[in-house]
C-alpha cells in the first residue's frame, strides 16, 4: 500500500474532479431527529459542501448502492407464443466518499458472497467494479462494536482511505485507479512527523472503543445455546419487521417476485431484499413454515451472522456497526443479546 499526505484544500479539489463526471455518493445531512440528533444518509451530492464527513452515523448503509432494495434481474418480452429474456447490468461509474472502516469491511464481506464462489453475481460485480471508494477513519461511536468484530481496521476493499490529521489527510492508496486520480492534485510525501501524528490518531481511535462484545467463543456458544431461554426473551420482543436487515450493511438475503404488465407484453423478475426475521421467510408450498415464531427467526439471524458465515468464510458476517440495534424499535441489539448468551442464566 502506498501512503501520501493530502491537504484539505487538495481533497476538496479532488472531490470536485470526481464530481465533474461521476455520480458521487457521500454522507449528507438531511435533517434532525426529535431529540435534536442530526440525521445523515449516503446520498448523491452535487457539490463538495453538501458532504458532511463529520457525520455520526447513517441509518441506512451504503449497501444499497451495490444491492438495491429492488432490482430487476431480467425482463421477458412476451410475444405471440414465445418470449425473449433480457438481462442488463448497471455500468455507470460512481464514487462513494466517506465510508467508515466497518462499512468498507462490510463490502469486503459482500464481495465474498457475490463476487467470488461458484456463482458470482454479475449485478453486484458490475456495480462494485464501477464504484470508486474513499473511506475515512472515525472516532468510534458509543454503541459501535466493530472492534470486537475485527472490522475496525481495513486493509483492502477501498480505493483511497483517509485519516484526518487536523489540517491534512493521511491517505492510503489501494488501487492504480486511485493512484492516477491522486496525481491530478497535489500530494506530499509522508514525513516522520506525519507518521507520528497518524500513529497518535490511530491509537486514539483504537483505544476509543467503548462497546465490546466477546466474539471469541461466539460460534461455539451459539451452537451450545441453541435452545437457550435468551432467544425466548429477545424473540418475544421482535416485531418481525425486517428493519434490522434493511439497514445492516451485510444482510443480503432476498426474495424474487415476478411482475407482468397489464397488457402481457412484458414480465419482470424483480429481486427484493428480504429479512430472515419475516414471518414467511422459510415457508414452503402447502403452508409449512420451518420458522413459525419470532424467536426462531431472530435466532437464525444471529446464527447466520456469527456462526454460519464463520463456517463458510472464517469470519463473522456482522461488522459491529450496530445499525440494527439502533433501528430496532424493540431495542434488540447485538451487544445486549450476545451478552445475555454469555450470561445464560436469566
Amino acid at each position: 500500500m502506498l501512503f501520501r499526505i493530502l491537504g484539505k484544500d487538495q481533497f476538496h479539489a479532488l472531490v470536485e474532479i470526481i464530481l465533474k463526471s461521476n455520480e458521487v455518493i457521500a454522507p449528507k445531512r438531511i435533517g434532525a431527529k426529535a431529540n435534536g440528533q442530526p440525521i445523515h444518509e449516503f446520498l448523491p451530492i452535487s457539490a463538495f459542501d453538501e458532504m458532511d464527513l463529520h457525520y455520526r452515523s447513517t441509518q441506512y448503509s451504503a449497501k444499497t448502492y451495490f444491492l438495491p432494495y429492488q432490482e430487476t434481474l431480467s425482463t421477458f418480452r412476451l410475444h405471440g407464443g414465445d418470449w425473449e429474456q433480457e438481462i442488463a447490468y448497471r455500468s455507470e461509474p460512481r464514487a462513494i466518499i466517506g465510508l467508515r472502516a466497518y462499512d468498507v469491511n462490510a463490502l469486503v464481506k459482500l464481495d465474498k458472497v457475490f463476487a467470488r464462489g461458484r456463482f458470482p453475481s454479475p449485478y453486484y460485480i458490475s456495480r462494485r467494479k464501477n464504484t470508486f471508494i474513499v473511506g475515512i477513519d472515525h472516532d468510534p461511536l458509543e454503541d459501535e462494536f466493530s472492534q470486537s468484530m475485527g472490522a475496525d481496521i481495513v486493509t483492502h476493499g477501498f480505493d483511497l482511505f483517509l485519516t484526518d490529521l487536523g489540517d491534512r489527510y493521511f491517505v492510503a492508496i489501494a488501487s492504480d485507479h486511485a493512484f492516477s486520480l491522486l496525481s491530478m492534485v497535489e500530494t506530499a510525501e509522508v514525513t516522520d512527523d506525519d507518521t507520528q501524528t497518524y500513529k497518535e490518531v490511530r491509537r486514539r481511535i483504537l483505544e476509543g472503543f467503548k462497546t465490546q462484545i466477546n466474539a471469541k467463543n461466539l460460534p461455539n456458544l451459539l451452537d451450545l445455546e441453541f435452545t437457550s431461554e435468551v432467544w425466548k426473551k429477545w424473540g418475544k420482543k421482535c416485531l418481525s419487521c425486517g428493519s434490522c436487515a434493511m439497514v445492516c450493511p451485510t444482510c443480503y438475503c432476498y426474495g424474487v417476485n415476478e411482475e407482468v404488465t397489464m397488457d402481457f407484453s412484458e414480465a419482470k423478475r424483480v429481486k427484493q431484499l428480504y429479512s430472515c426475521n419475516i414471518l414467511d421467510f422459510a415457508e414452503v408450498a402447502g403452508g409449512h413454515n420451518f420458522r413459525p415464531d419470532h424467536e426462531t427467526r431472530l435466532k437464525y439471524r444471529y446464527y447466520h451472522q456469527h456462526r454460519g458465515f464463520m463456517e463458510d468464510y472464517d469470519e463473522p458476517k456482522c461488522v459491529g456497526c450496530n445499525r440494527c440495534g439502533r433501528v430496532c424499535l424493540a431495542g434488540i441489539n447485538p451487544p445486549a443479546v450476545i451478552k445475555d448468551l454469555y450470561e445464560e442464566d436469566l
Binding site: 438531511i30 435533517g31 431527529k33 426529535a34 431529540n35 440525521i39 444518509e41 441509518q59 441506512y60 444499497t64 432494495y69 429492488q70 412476451l78 410475444h79 405471440g80 407464443g81 414465445d82 418470449w83 418475544k236 420482543k237 421482535c238 416485531l239 418481525s240 419487521c241 425486517g242 428493519s243 434493511m246 439497514v247 417476485n257 415476478e258 407482468v260 404488465t261 397489464m262 397488457d263 402481457f264 427484493q272 431484499l273 429479512s275 419475516i278 414471518l279 414467511d280 415457508e283 419470532h294 433501528v327 424499535l329 424493540a330 431495542g331
Partner: protein, 250 residues
C-alpha cells in the same frame, strides 16, 4: 398467456360503491401509464362512477364502501348472488373504514344534530364481510392501484398475488424513510400490513393503520414500546380505532 398456451380470458368486472368517499374507485382510473392496458384486460360491465353502461352479467364484483343502510344490505346481497368472486376493495369495505367511527355515537342524536327535524335512515356502519362472504380483501384508504392490478391479474390468470407477510416498516425502510418514531411521532407501521408502499411515513405522517393488522403482529411488544416512548393510551386508541382494521383489539 400465449407462451404457456393458456387461453386468455376477458373477465367481466363490475364495480359497486356503498358508503364511502369513492376514493377507491377513483384509484381504478389512476396509474395513467397502464390505464389503457388495465381497461383492455377486463370487460367493465358496470361501473356507475365512470360509465352509464349497466350490465349484470359479471364474474368479478369489486365492492367499495361500507354498509350503513338497510337498502345497501339488499343491494350487496344481490351482488353476492351474481358474482363468482367478490372483492372487498378498500378499508371501508374491509373493515368499515372511518365511516365506522359514527358507531361510537348515538345515531338518533347524530341525526338530530345534522338533520334537525328531518332524520335520515341510517344504521351502524359495518364491513362488507359482516353481511356476505368476501373472497378477497384488498384494504387501504385508498387502495393501491398497483395492488388492484395484481388482484385482477390474480383473479384472471392466477398470477401470484403477494400477501405481504411483513409490516409497513419493511417498505418504509426500502424507501429510505426516517422512522416517524425518531421524529417523535406515533406510527402503526410495525403492526400494520404492508403493501401500500408506505406513503404516509414518507410524506411525514406516522402510519394510521389503514391496511389493518399485519400477519401475526407482535401487539404486546408494540404496545409496550409505544408506552415507553411516552405516547398515551388515548393516542394509541385513537389510531387503532381510526380505520377499523384493529377493531378486535379495542
Amino acid at each position: 398467456m400465449d407462451h404457456l398456451r393458456i387461453e386468455k380470458k376477458l373477465p367481466r368486472v363490475a364495480v359497486f360503491d356503498f358508503t364511502g368517499c369513492e376514493g377507491c374507485e377513483l384509484q381504478l382510473a389512476n396509474k395513467e401509464e397502464t390505464l389503457g392496458a388495465f381497461l383492455s384486460a377486463i370487460d367493465v360491465v358496470h361501473f356507475r362512477e365512470v360509465s352509464s353502461a349497466e350490465g349484470d352479467d359479471y364474474d368479478v364484483a369489486l365492492v367499495d364502501g361500507a354498509i350503513s343502510r338497510p337498502d345497501e344490505v339488499e343491494r350487496l346481497k344481490a351482488i353476492r348472488q351474481q358474482a363468482k368472486v367478490l372483492v372487498a376493495m378498500g378499508s371501508c369495505a374491509c373493515f368499515g373504514g372511518v365511516n365506522r367511527l359514527k358507531n361510537a355515537y348515538d345515531l338518533q342524536e347524530a341525526n338530530r344534530e345534522v338533520y334537525g327535524d328531518c332524520p335520515k335512515e341510517t344504521m351502524p356502519t359495518q364491513a362488507v364481510k359482516h353481511f356476505v362472504a368476501v373472497d378477497l380483501e384488498v384494504p387501504g384508504c385508498p387502495v393501491n392501484k398497483d395492488e388492484i392490478e395484481r388482484v385482477v391479474q390474480h383473479l384472471v390468470w392466477d398470477l401470484p398475488l403477494c400477501t405481504f407477510a411483513y409490516p409497513v416498516c419493511l417498505q418504509c425502510k426500502q424507501r429510505f424513510t426516517v422512522c416517524r418514531f425518531d421524529m417523535g411521532e406515533l406510527c402503526l407501521g410495525p403492526i400494520t400490513r404492508a403493501g401500500c408502499n408506505a406513503p404516509c411515513p414518507a410524506g411525514g405522517l406516522g402510519c394510521w393503520g389503514c391496511r389493518g393488522p399485519a400477519k401475526n403482529p407482535n401487539y404486546q411488544e408494540f404496545f409496550a414500546l409505544v408506552k415507553e416512548k411516552g405516547f398515551t393510551e388515548r393516542e394509541l386508541h385513537d389510531r387503532l380505532g381510526f380505520f377499523g382494521g384493529f377493531e378486535d383489539l379495542l
